[in-house]
Each structure stands twice: as structure tokens, then as C-alpha cells.
């Protein structure tokens, strides 16, 4: 279980994260959602240990990690642009961490990972020969070899297109279930967040706007911000798709949300 207690981060007088408290049960997927500049990447970096906290606590399984350095926390991250090492091929990227810690994973475990992520035929390829989805999978495999306690993913789908997005989504879910791995995902896309995760944390101006299961957010949004900026987007998407498939229009048209938004603004 990962607990964040009254997290605060300020750069000088500029407060980026303000009093964030929440609990992530082990094995769950949590998405951090919000507009750009809301502090979601900072929160990810704070959990990872890359950015120092101003105040508050990060507790994992009862142990206070707030002042434990990044390398010793046992968390790991896949960056948005994957940060694969171009001088090494796909396989050497995957086993990079084993050079420093031979016992992180057994050869059999590495093999299973390769199969799970469907990378067998790409192992000897150079990084620039891989497609976006393949790069993503190599980066995830490289991280999983280290058996992190918490897996952090920074915008994992934004560099991918169309169908690959959906297949990577499924794979992230499979991994979280199979390894009972707590996974935290940063995204700016409501559809991605709500369809991928067990819980969604919506940030606005460095504060928690809502932290709940996707269904709760859809049916009981806690603020007009969530209605205006998150649900409205989904409604428009839904309407467009319904229209495309020529189905009957849904009961609540997006327009009504827009009108309330206009009224509240």
C-alpha cells in the first residue's frame, strides 16, 4: 500500500503541489489526470524521488520513504519518450539493470517477460528500428526486470497511435494483475485515464479535485471543473461516435453540460 500524506511541493514561492493525501492499494492502477501545468508530472517525480518534497510524507507498506533517495526506494519509471539507450539493441536494453544487480530477475523470468510483452522477434533490433509500440514494450520490460514495488508511467500512450494504444492499455492491465504491481500513470487524456485505471486522481492547480473510481467520477463529479473540462470532452467524443454509428442519441446530450458550464462560468 502506498500512502501520500499531506504532500506539498513549492519551487520558491510557487506552490506546485498543495496538501495531497491519498492511499493506493497494492496492485491497483491509478491515473493522475489534469490539464498541463496542474502538477501531475511533479507529483510523479516526487513519488519517484527525483524531486525533493517541501513537506509531507510518502509511506510504502508502513515505511516512511520521504527522505530515502531515488535509487533506494525501489520504484521505477518509464518516461514519455522511453529513454531507451540507442547504443544498445532491444535485448541489451531489457537486461541493462542485470549488469548491476544480477539477481534482480532470473533468466527464466526475463524470458517470460519477453514473451508476455511479445518482444521475442525484436530482441536483436536497434532502437531506431523499433516502432513506437515496440519501444514502449521494451521500456516496460527493462523496468520490470528490476521488479519495482511501484511502476510509474509518464504519458505512456501519448506517443502511440490508434490500435496500438488499445493493445498497450490491455498489456498494462495484464501486467498490473499478473505481478500484483501498483502502477501510477500520468495522463492528460480523460478517456485514457478512466478506461485504464482502477482509480483516477484528478489534479487542478496542484490540489486534489477528486480521487475516486472511474464510475464515481462519471456519475458524481465533485466539482464544476471536472464537469467542464473532463466530462464535457468525453461527452463530445461519445456523441460524435454515436453519430458516426447512426445510433440513437444518448439520453444526456453533451450540450446540456456545456450550458451548465456556461452558466457556472
Amino acid at each position: 500500500m502506498l500512502e501520500l500524506v499531506n504532500l506539498k511541493k513549492a519551487f520558491g514561492s510557487h506552490v506546485v503541489l498543495d496538501d495531497i493525501s491519498l492511499t493506493v492499494p497494492t496492485g491497483e492502477i491509478v491515473s493522475i489526470l489534469g490539464p498541463s501545468g496542474c502538477g501531475k508530472t511533479t507529483l510523479l517525480n516526487v513519488i519517484l524521488g527525483l524531486t525533493e518534497l517541501t513537506s509531507g510524507k510518502i509511506i510504502y507498506d508502513g515505511v516512511d520513504l520521504s527522505s530515502v533517495p531515488m535509487k533506494k526506494r525501489g520504484f521505477n519509471i518509464v518516461f514519455q519518450d522511453f529513454a531507451l539507450f540507442p547504443n544498445l539493441n532491444a535485448y541489451d536494453n531489457i537486461v541493462y539493470g542485470l549488469r548491476n544487480n544480477k539477481n534482480a530477475s532470473t533468466p527464466a523470468e526475463v524470458n517470460d517477460l519477453i514473451d508476455l510483452l511479445n518482444l521475442r522477434e525484436h530482441l536483436s533490433k536497434r532502437i531506431d528500428e523499433l516502432s513506437g509500440g515496440q519501444k514502449q514494450r521494451v521500456a516496460i520490460a527493462r523496468t520490470l526486470v528490476m521488479k519495482p514495488k511501484v511502476l510509474l508511467l509518464d504519458e505512456p500512450l501519448s506517443a502511440l497511435d490508434g490500435l496500438i494504444k488499445e493493445s498497450i492499455k490491455e498489456r498494462i492491465k495484464t501486467i498490473a494483475r499478473q505481478f500484483n504491481l501498483t502502477t501510477i500513470i500520468v495522463t492528460h487524456d480523460p478517456e485514457e485515464a478512466l478506461s485504464l485505471s482502477d482509480r483516477v486522481l484528478i489534479l487542478n492547480n496542484g490540489k486534489v479535485a477528486q480521487y475516486a473510481e472511474p464510475k464515481t467520477i462519471i456519475h458524481a463529479p465533485e466539482s464544476s471543473f471536472i464537469k467542464d473540462f473532463i466530462l464535457k470532452q468525453l461527452m463530445i467524443k461519445r456523441d460524435n461516435i454515436f453519430r458516426l454509428f447512426d445510433s440513437t442519441m444518448p439520453a444526456v446530450p453533451a450540450m446540456s453540460y456545456m450550458q451548465t458550464a456556461a452558466a457556472s462560468a
Binding site: 547504443n87 539493470g97 533490433k125
Partner: protein
């Protein structure tokens, strides 16, 4: 080291190392010049300044330098512009293109002091070119010689700036201009001149600066025509050295450099770049292509005509009267003048300078582009790069002389290496910084999460992914250390002669066959090193591309 914020200790150490080192070999020598220019026996004084400013010789030298450099810069920029324009707009074969480029860049591999002698031998009374086109109406010593050699010296950098600029000019605009009904002049202005105007100014300023501060050419060909570089040398190393006066002259050399930097910053705004460049080759145009073909042929003939002499003199009996092939001359030259020893010294100094310089610039680049050190640490590296760019080699040499004479460093190879490292700091530093800022920002964090120490990441990820740049940095530093004379001419001792300072010494004894032999050695070495490094880089890339399969 709390004041350096939260960053790995290795990077903090790198910063402190770079900062202290550059303070010692850049700031301290410059400070020494200021001290000698402003501090007399009774403390602070302006008398050395006023004393220097009341001497006519100072004004004459300064003005002469100014005149020569302005004319050189004008000619070199114009030739460089048309050379680059032709390559960009004419329908030449790729082989022709590369050949033209190689010929235009050849002078880079020779010391500037050699150009002077080559010009004397080509344009002098018995020169190759004089014989071809007849007696020149002016003496080659002095103004005319300085201008000719200066243009040869500054043409390669001016050409490179213009060529780089034309790479961003879209030729499709010629078509646009034509269908809009522009006349030839307006078309030329719109599609070539205006887009490269900023670079044109940069090329002029750089050529001016290079020529103004060069020592090699005036020392070989100026004769009695006094310029600032020879004046500084004479004041410092003459029969009656006057260090206070020398320091004032050195400071005066900084004036054009500082103005250059200010103008260069301004004129970068003049440039504009088309963000999408069409790859379409230019359409053939018989008249235009023939005109430019002739222009390149003449230019190449002139350059090769000037440099050919360097490769002829060592291999004939006695130029120009007994001009038949023999190895006697070169044997005699080697036997008489300790050529081999000097050459080995030069190789050692160049290799050590390249090694130390690459390491220093690499670390400084890393501090600037790949660390979370406070902003002032990063800015400090940029400031060092800017200052080393402003300070001419001769001024640096004078500063080193003041700062380190009497210390254990004086008359050692180490002081030559240090001078080279700081003299050529800017370009390799910028190369490293650029490579680092292009590198994925997540490498260090990712590798650290995989259990790497800083050194492991450096060895396994950072260096392999910037290896091409490291080779280029090394090559730049090596070639420049081989051909430089301006800084080290003040610092070589009796046992630490290098090839360029030896050439200066041989000039005194009028041993031109030995001078040209050394020049040939420098040229061959530089070309070999360049080819070797480029070849090795290509091989590494090739291996990386194929080992994966």
C-alpha cells in the same frame, strides 16, 4: 558543497574542477595583463595607457591592422559568399561539389605563418604565379602580401559560414520569385542575399577578427609594414622588452573582439531559416553553370598555385634555379635542423592538448546541459566559453607569460598544452553542449534506477551515445594545436620548440626549404589525423548499425 544544490557529487566535482581550472588558466592570466597595464610602482596608474596612446607607432600599427583586416574581410566574405552560392544554386555533379569544398578548406590544415611564405614564393619575383601572369606592379612585402595571405587564411571559415547558411535557403523560392515576375537583381536579393544577410555579416566580422589577431601572416610577410600583432611581439620579445606597454597593446587587441561579439549577437537576428527545405537539385543553366565553373577553376588554381610551392621546394635541388626532383634537400634539412625532434614535440603537444581539451570541454558541457546544478554554475561555463572566444591567442600568450613566468610551469610542454586548451575551448565546448542537449533527458535517471553509479552511466550510456562528437572535438583540437602560433610564440622555451615556432626561428636564418618541409609535415599529419578520425567514426557507426542484426 551545499551551495551547489541537490545534484550528484560527481557533477558538483566536475563543476568545481572546470571552474577552478578555467579560473587559473583564463581569468588569472587576463588579470595579470590588467595588473601590468594599470598598476605601477606607486599603485594604480593610467600612465602606461597614456604613454602607449601618445606613441605614433601604436596608432600606425593599429590603423594598419584595421585597414588590412577590413579589406581582407570584405574580399574573403565576397568570395566565400559566391563560392557557397554557386555550390547551392548550380547544377554540378556531387563529385565536383566535394572537390571544390576540399580545395576551399585546404588552408585549414596549414599554419597561417606558412601562407605568408607561400605567397612570397608564388607572387615574389621568381614565384610560380608571377611567372604565369607577369611581374606584379607592387611589392609583395607589406600591405599587398598581407591582404593576399589574409584572404587565403580567412576564406575557409567565411566560406563555411556561408555554406551553412545556404543549407537553410530553399531553392524553390527562385521559382516563386520568377513567376512573380522579379528581375534578376531582385530575384538574387530575395532568394540569396536577404536570407543570408545575417551570416554575411557574421562571416565579415569573423574574418576581420581572425585577421586582426593573427600573428603568423604578419610575421612572415609584413616586412616593414607595422601591424598590431608584430608590434605586440616586438614590444614583448624585442631587445628591450616593455611589459607594461605590451600589456596595453594586448588590451587594445581586445577592443575589436569585444565589438565583434556584440555585433555577432545582434546580427544573428537578421538570419531567417526556411523550416522546410526542398531537396530538389537545381535545374541546369548553361550560362550560369559555366560562369561559376570558371570562377571555381580560377579560385582553385589560385589556391593550389599558392600552396603548390610548399610541396615543391623540399623535393627539388634548389628552387627556382635547379628545379629538378631530388631527395637531397629534404635529407639535408632533416640532418641540419632537428626537424624530427621538433615534429615529435608538436605531435605530443597537439595530442595532449586534444586529450585534455576534449575532457575539459566534455565535462563543462555536461555541467551546462546535463545537470541540475544552480543556474549560475551553468551560466559560468557559458561565460568562460564566451571569454575564450573573445580573447585572441596573442593576448592569451602574453597573459600566460605574465602569469606563469618564474613558476614551475614556465618553459614546459605543460604550459603549451594549457594555452592550447583554453585558446580553443569555445568550439568543442559548444559541440559537446549541443550533443548533450539533443540527448534524451531521461538517460541518467533511468540508468540510476537500474542501479548504475554515475561513472557506470557515463561509460555505458553517455559516452557511447556521444562518441561521434567526442571524435570531432578531438580532431578540432588536434588540428588547431598543430597549426597555432599566436599564443605559444610567447611560451616556447629552448627545449620545447614546436613546428610553428621553429618555422619562425628558421625564418631568421632564411631556411625556407626547412620551413616548407615542416609545413608539409604539419599538413600531412593533419590530413592523416582528420581522415583517420572521420574513418574511425564512420566505422563505429557502421558497426553499431550492423552488430544489432
Amino acid at each position: 558543497m551545499q551551495f551547489l544544490g541537490r545534484e550528484r557529487p560527481e557533477l558538483k566535482l566536475s563543476f568545481l574542477l572546470c571552474a577552478l581550472f578555467l579560473a587559473l588558466i583564463l581569468a588569472y592570466p587576463l588579470f595579470s595583463i590588467l595588473r601590468l597595464a594599470f598598476i605601477g610602482e606607486q599603485g594604480f596608474t593610467l600612465s602606461y595607457i597614456t604613454d602607449a596612446l601618445t606613441r605614433d607607432s601604436f596608432y600606425t600599427a593599429f590603423l594598419n591592422s584595421f585597414k588590412v583586416s577590413a579589406l581582407v574581410a570584405l574580399l574573403a566574405t565576397a568570395i566565400g559568399f559566391f563560392a557557397a552560392y554557386g555550390l547551392s544554386f548550380c547544377a554540378f555533379k556531387n563529385k565536383t561539389r566535394s572537390l571544390i569544398e576540399v580545395v576551399l578548406l585546404l588552408p585549414l590544415f596549414l599554419p597561417s605563418i606558412t601562407y605568408g611564405f607561400a605567397v612570397i614564393y608564388s607572387f615574389g619575383r621568381q614565384g610560380l604565379i608571377t611567372r604565369a601572369i607577369g611581374q606584379l606592379p607592387f611589392s609583395i612585402y607589406g600591405f599587398a602580401g598581407l591582404v593576399i595571405a589574409g584572404v587565403i587564411y580567412t576564406l575557409p571559415p567565411a566560406f563555411m559560414i556561408m555554406q551553412n547558411s545556404f543549407a537553410y535557403v530553399d531553392r524553390n523560392f527562385v521559382t516563386v520569385s520568377k513567376v512573380m515576375g522579379d528581375g534578376l537583381l531582385r530575384q538574387f536579393y530575395q532568394t540569396a542575399l536577404r536570407p543570408t544577410l545575417g551570416s554575411l555579416v557574421s562571416a565579415f566580422i569573423l574574418a576581420f577578427f581572425l585577421n586582426f589577431t593573427d600573428f603568423g601572416i604578419p610575421t612572415s610577410i609584413a616586412g616593414r609594414y607595422d601591424v598590431i600583432a608584430t608590434r605586440l611581439y616586438a614590444t614583448m620579445m624585442g631587445a628591450v622588452p616593455d611589459f607594461n606597454n605590451g600589456s596595453v597593446i594586448a588590451l587594445s587587441m581586445l577592443i575589436p573582439s569585444i565589438i565583434s561579439v556584440v555585433i555577432l549577437r545582434r546580427c544573428s537576428r537578421l538570419n531567417f531559416r526556411y523550416n522546410k527545405i526542398s531537396k530538389e537539385p537545381p535545374a541546369p543553366n548553361r550560362l550560369r553553370d559555366t560562369c561559376f565553373g570558371t570562377f571555381y577553376a580560377l579560385l582553385s588554381l589560385l589556391l593550389i598555385g599558392v600552396f603548390a610551392i610548399i610541396f615543391i621546394v623540399p623535393f627539388v635541388k634548389s628552387w627556382p634555379y635547379q628545379a629538378y626532383f631530388t631527395l637531397d634537400t629534404i635529407r639535408r634539412v632533416f640532418a641540419e635542423n632537428d626537424i624530427a625532434g621538433t615534429y615529435i614535440n608538436s605531435l605530443g603537444v597537439a595530442a595532449a592538448s586534444a586529450l585534455c581539451g576534449t575532457a575539459l570541454c566534455y565535462l563543462a558541457g555536461m555541467v551546462n546541459a546535463r545537470s541540475k546544478l544552480p543556474g549560475w554554475c551553468k551560466a559560468l561555463m557559458d561565460i568562460f566559453a564566451m571569454v575564450t572566444n573573445i580573447v585572441p591567442g596573442m593576448v592569451l600568450g602574453v597573459g600566460f607569460l605574465f602569469a606563469f613566468s618564474g613558476t614551475a610551469l614556465a618553459n614546459t610542454f605543460a604550459i603549451l598544452v594549457l594555452a592550447n586548451v583554453v585558446h580553443f575551448f569555445t568550439t568543442p565546448y559548444l559541440m559537446a553542449q549541443q550533443a548533450f542537449s539533443k540527448m534524451n533527458a531521461g538517460f541518467e535517471t533511468t540508468a540510476a534506477l537500474m542501479g548504475d553509479t554515475w561513472f557506470q552511466t557515463l561509460r555505458r550510456v553517455v559516452i557511447p551515445n556521444s562518441f561521434g562528437t567526442i571524435l570531432q572535438m578531438f580532431s578540432y583540437l588536434f588540428v588547431n594545436s598543430m597549426v597555432t602560433i599566436s599564443a605559444i610564440v610567447f611560451l616556447v622555451g629552448a627545449y620545447t620548440q614546436v613546428t610553428t615556432s621553429k618555422i619562425k626561428e628558421l625564418q631568421y636564418f632564411e631556411k625556407f626549404d626547412a620551413i616548407f618541409t615542416l609545413s608539409v609535415l604539419i599538413f600531412i599529419t593533419n590530413v592523416a589525423v582528420k581522415l583517420l578520425i572521420d574513418g574511425y567514426g564512420a566505422y563505429q557507426r557502421h558497426r553499431q548499425n550492423h552488430s544489432a542484426k
